[in-house]
Symmetry: none
Subunit: 233 residues, 2 copies
């Protein structure tokens, strides 16, 4: 399976933008110029430019051309962060406590989310992450064994599931849902909060090139964790 030509052209332009050869406001090659340069049809050259336009990297104007956008797109701001890294960046001590590490049979809903057969074996881990000995995150994770066969053999005291998975199945895609919730007594006691404390919950599904890697639910006590972001044009 070879790389599609429109991806090659897209990467060619994206690389030049990242390398600073094309800077914001610069005109990039037109569809016709790319046709000649890469010996492809206009539809293929067009697809590369259109894809970059859809991602916000280019602004295209009929009659004028395609130009590098002045503002980096903001969609990339929601990074998949490793909680251990976050804690360390704040200069605090990090530790983890493993609650569950086991195989489970996928329910039909889980199977659908991970794109496996119902009843298939999944890896299931539940880990509480601590910052300065205070619980900051409850991580409940289901992993597709086909994409991370050695998941249950890891020592998650020394490497977070996030870090391990990033290594064996590099991320290509992720979706997030962020909401405010309450938790049951089991989770509340592990997080050292009570069941009336509002929690920030992130549900995250991650893909690598080979398919859906994992679905995770990350629950944070509302008074100990928040998300932030900043963007400029």
């Amino acid at each position: 399976m070879s790389t599609p030509r429109f991806i090659i052209i897209k990467n060619f332009i994206e690389d030049k933008i990242n390398a600073g050869e094309f800077t914001p406001g610069d005109r990039v090659p037109s569809e016709n110029e790319l046709c000649q340069q890469f010996s492809v049809s206009r539809m293929t050259a067009r697809r590369a430019l259109q894809s970059l336009n859809d991602e916000g990297l280019l602004i295209r104007t009929p009659g004028l051309g395609s130009f590098v956008a002045k503002h980096r797109p903001i969609s990339t701001l929601l990074e998949v962060r490793n909680i251990a890294d976050e804690v360390h960046e704040r200069g605090n001590s990090y530790s983890a406590k493993i609650i569950t590490m086991t195989e489970v049979e996928a329910t039909s809903q889980q199977a659908a989310m991970l794109n496996v057969a119902a009843g298939a074996i999944l890896y299931h881990s539940v880990i509480v992450h601590f910052e300065e000995e205070i619980p900051v995150q409850w991580e409940d994770r289901l992993v597709n064994p086909a994409l991370a066969a050695d998941y249950l053999l890891q020592d998650f005291n020394t490497i977070t599931p996030n870090a391990y998975l990033s290594k064996v199945a590099p991320l290509t895609e992720a979706s997030h849902k962020i909401e405010a919730t309450l938790v049951d007594q089991t989770i509340a006691s592990k997080l050292h909060i009570d069941t009336r404390s509002p929690c920030l919950q992130i549900s995250r599904r991650t893909w690598s090139a080979a398919g859906i890697v994992s679905i995770a639910t990350l629950i944070h006590p509302g008074d100990r964790y928040c998300l932030g972001g900043h963007w400029k044009i």
Copy 2:
């Protein structure tokens, strides 16, 4: 200027999904079926389906077909979204109730956030936003009069503060903080929740070319609003 055919086909399918004729998991017409039905080339039919796929409404699988996604896509995280637009995009009715519209003197903390002198006049608005007559957002906003002089003259039943400010002081920069909180009795009663309900709170500060425009606190009942995002490499 007539509507492009791929948009017509796209709307045709989108309408059926919104109307419940196609429900999550249903197969929608294939590219070939749409070709015949609309008398277009496959590339045009394809573009309609691909566009819906890119928006997350369809899941397409070679050999199988195109299926309505099981989970409706949700608003992109950290984008500065207009709540009225969001509600309308979900096909629901939007309305607003204005609680407060007044001038206030900046406290030292507010002055620092907006980069004005302490005691300077600020505009203050509090608005509850409704989706299908149900409160979904409490918006408490302070505005720098120097950058939006006519703020208090607006009819926020017909234009949201967000939309008005975007017009008079286009955004160049924004910062966000997202957390899970509880609210006091005053806000709870306006949101038709009780003080034990977890809320998703977004604190947002926005800049335009001329300076800091506004600081806003947006509070959402946890069971009625969430943030989402999706990214691909």
